[in-house]
Symmetry: D2
Subunit: 342 residues, 4 copies
């Protein structure tokens, strides 16, 4: 099994690498990076010294064509320039960027501010949320990995939407992410002294993850869903915490039981016992999503708390979970380490 | 002007001290602490070395009777044992604990788990939120300072409630606080290695600040208000961020203008220009509350973002603001320093 | 292979558990905890939910006697009460506390403030630093795991001392640790709001790790070594950074080459290329110790920078490394995951 | 009193502004910034909204010529282009950059990598460390403010050097700084996710503050002093902690008494009682430097611990202290607020 990673210098690319070095079915890795071409990974990123002995290559279609699967950890707009030729030669592609997440190409172009370079591939892409799309993922050759926020919101609402328990008109997703979710691109508002010991909302007037979430929630519900979505920036490295608010159609619904039954056989979704609250650190470095449900007033109001590691279940771990499904490996291969606490 | 502080060893007591040492109208301070009796403040808290030369005294009614005003920074249940005798001898009292916040004594006893020691004083207490109660505060001899969360929720909704703009049935307060809000009492879940680099909700099934908030919001609205209230713990020292969700009765309401007009002359409430998001650090160490309002979908949904420093506007600064009003000082005396950024 | 952990509720006990759940040679685990007896691990520590399905047992010698090896993650003074009886029935013991680290029992009693409960076992104990003591560890039945600070100081100086390159009279160890190094015992100075966004030295007048370090450095040098040792508290969860200062006997010594040669075949010690500085995060969650050496003035002054994860190479990882050696497993079994960055 | 600040957008410029808005003798402020020209300060930096109502101006010599004093908070190399013309028209200058700190112009040019633009002004500049140079500062028209690290090292050693107590050959300065010390210039290694929950040394092979420190220590000692200087990066916003190691000429020296006597009348240097360790938070936001001295082995080895806020005593506060001296104000004007703890 030969695996390629395009853009293995950002947080999601390095997270893929961290997880793949212990994956039992990965024989060889090809890492590409224009800027680091020819340099050893361990020299550029000292945390990999002696973990892996590998040099960065130029990202060329010829070299990548020898891979069984290629992961794209590139900024939006890059994967779409290379994916068609890779698919043509039979290489499977797992894209961690947003290039193939939104079915409506014109909506994608509006939110991402560019013309889409491979609109013909969009319909072919399968949204890589295994708990919702496992069968389609198994057959896919192009995976659009979900965004980090969307994964939490969608997993937190899936049992309610599939079972038709939720009023669809007034769902609120109050979400908060660690800083690694914004990547490594330099900007003042990601500097340590700007973020540390502070907290704020951002993008209240509109965030790119909202149309993605609404598309998938609508698929889940079989009906159009619009939500209120407010992201916040947490002074932590990794971790997303979503606090979801909705109203049940029937306030007597046993939601704790519903969630436990729904996710009973999912390897990476854990429903906490009633009364416990998940912390982002519970899942630090893992592919696990922890969920709590609560009906504080014994009325129709339901609150769902969801945590994940934005770099793992929110990105690279979920991408590997998809790879495992596509190649018929055990779904937990390479993803079974316990959380790093504290 | 002689000022007493009972319990000047916790975070709110020391914050009072920090602010009062530069207050132009405070001539002498009396600090009480059973455990530190006879010790110099600067020796116990090295940040005060050479700032103030004072020893802790035993908290006795006789000594406190010489003060013009006494602040209580004590755990719930303590102030109520001393307040009646102080009021009797003409000492004004500003209580930072929850002892006199809730008018319904039986509800107080339910949430705080003890019998109230001075139920006769409850009706006499004025809720110390100057933007709502300034005239009553000026005449009061017993102030019940608002809780830290309630201050943000109440200031964030006051313009809407007083003007009758808001649907009262579905208000949500998604709030997050720095760790100092939980005080210094030892518990595992406040240890650095438990809190750092993590985030979680807590108390989703019920929090003591909820009945306080609902009481005041109902007074503001002239109608019963019930809210959904979900607190979260932030890995920061100081700061509360509240994200408030509601629905306008009329989606065409100019809420930005409404808030700007409502708070135009308030010295400690700042409405940010449309499109800006407040950070907790903007108000670190100050008595300022910053507010943003947003209608992301141009529909009835309104989002109000509110930040304060939980130890200042959320506790000790607001207590001094009340003192300034009670004693006819300038309302900003001792409270005009700029925020500590970064 | 049956493994027991006594005290599997503190940071080192849970770190052992985190590492052992993926260890290829561990068949069954026995976790003891008086306070959590009968409770499931995943219920008490939600990060282990669905990772391990196990209940805490009462720590009794009878139950532990069925183990092949027992780890003690207990406060100082506990292991010594149970170790003799375990050794008697042929159970091997790896003690992560300080009970058997210091050969001079009276010195141990002075620094730890209690009478030693098993002085006869002290001489039998092998100091569990594999890079120094690998052969003895292989034959031992009682391992005294090194302290977290000592591991970094000893590994940073070992190549110099074994080769007789260093003046022994003026060695300085300026060390800094994350808060988990102080354990979970409640104290005000470990509260988040006391530690966060601050930094300080502590224990300058004397720290328990100093006699341990001096004993081992003296063994390495074959001569008495006294050092200046100043610990500091870092506002981070995990990680120790030691900055070691010494003087070479010969300023022309090629120390970079000396270190590279010395540690060339060590699986868990990495000498960084000249000019790089190690970060604690490079080794977060791993058993790796990274070292840089520098001669800034091209004179006799040498500076050695050493980082480790205090819970892994500084405690539980090193304990497993010892177990691997004692039981002839591959030395890296269970310890090969890459660092969690960021 | 008209005060100009050139470069009032970086951390030291905004810190000056924070402190000057409450300074009793400052009547008007002129803030310059090329990039923010015409914008209101409160709009760009929301922490100043309603604190100050002022717009940024273009930094032109004509406008600045009307000031009584001008502070330069600019990158190295900028002040030297404007200072000569300001001095010529009688404006006093306080430069917070390194342009005039080093007397040997060729050494300055070597370390800062550029040709000095105003070498004739270097000799005229007075090094702005009041505890060492108060009389010269009072008469100066050009102040070179000390670097942040140098302030701590110099104040920590001044009593020993002036009294000739210290061996000069083996002084070590192990120093650690919060991230704001590196300014706001964008670089990957200042991103939150790179710095948070980690710690490292940097610049071990050479740092620009070393020649500055050695120049001043040599002046203090009346003899050439060379030191070993190792800086470290702390995951905190503000604060420097220096751990200084030296050897006394006479191990019986009463260093605690020496320090207490030496600094008895200094308003901003506090010698802690024996046995206490200073934390950076003790002085957060203040112009205070706290010092502890320790002789752990009762031998010649002495350890001096020094903390300051790098933006206040290490930069802008000390600059104001110099201004107060130059203009015969009370030295504590604008600098008397207590530390922000926690």
């Amino acid at each position: 099994m030969n695996v390629g990673i395009v853009g293995a210098t950002g947080y999601t690319g390095l997270e893929l690498l961290r997880l793949l070095v212990t994956h039992p079915n990965v024989d060889s890795l090809l890492l590409t990076s224009r800027k680091n071409k020819g340099l050893s990974v361990g020299r550029v990123y000292p945390e990999f010294q002696s973990v892996i002995d590998l040099e960065y290559s130029e990202p060329s279609p010829e070299v990548l064509a020898d891979c069984d699967v290629v992961f794209f950890c590139t900024p939006h707009g890059v994967a779409q320039t290379m994916v068609p030729s890779l698919l043509e030669v039979g290489v499977k592609v797992i894209d961690l960027s947003a290039d193939f997440r939104i079915r409506d190409v014109s909506m994608w172009e509006k939110w991402y501010g560019m013309t889409h370079g491979a609109p013909n591939c969009v319909a072919r892409a399968v949204y890589g949320l295994p708990e919702f799309n496992r069968e389609k993922i198994a057959l896919a050759d192009l995976i659009a990995c979900p965004g980090c926020y969307p994964t939490t919101v969608e997993l937190g609402l899936l049992p309610l939407l599939e079972n038709g328990c939720l009023e669809l008109s007034d769902i609120i997703a109050n979400v908060a992410s660690g800083v690694s979710g914004a990547g490594k691109t330099l900007s003042t508002d990601k500097l340590f002294a700007e973020v540390n010991d502070s907290f704020k909302a951002y993008g209240v007037s509109g965030h790119r993850h909202q149309p993605e979430i609404e598309q998938i929630l609508s698929e889940m519900a079989g009906n159009e869903v619009n939500i209120t979505f407010v992201p916040h920036l947490l002074p932590i490295n990794r971790g997303i915490h979503s606090t979801l608010y909705g109203n049940l159609k029937d306030s007597r619904e046993n939601v704790q039981g519903l969630f436990e039954d729904f996710y009973r056989f999912e390897p990476f979704v854990q429903v906490l016992p009633a009364g416990l609250h998940p912390s982002t650190r519970n899942v630090r470095g893992t592919n696990i999503c922890q969920i709590s449900v609560c009906q504080p007033g014994n009325n129709a109001r339901i609150i769902v708390l969801v945590v994940e590691d934005n770099l793992t279940k929110g990105a690279s771990g979920q991408a590997i979970q998809c790879m495992n499904i596509m190649f018929s490996f055990s779904e937990t291969d390479g993803l079974s380490a316990a959380a790093l606490v504290p």
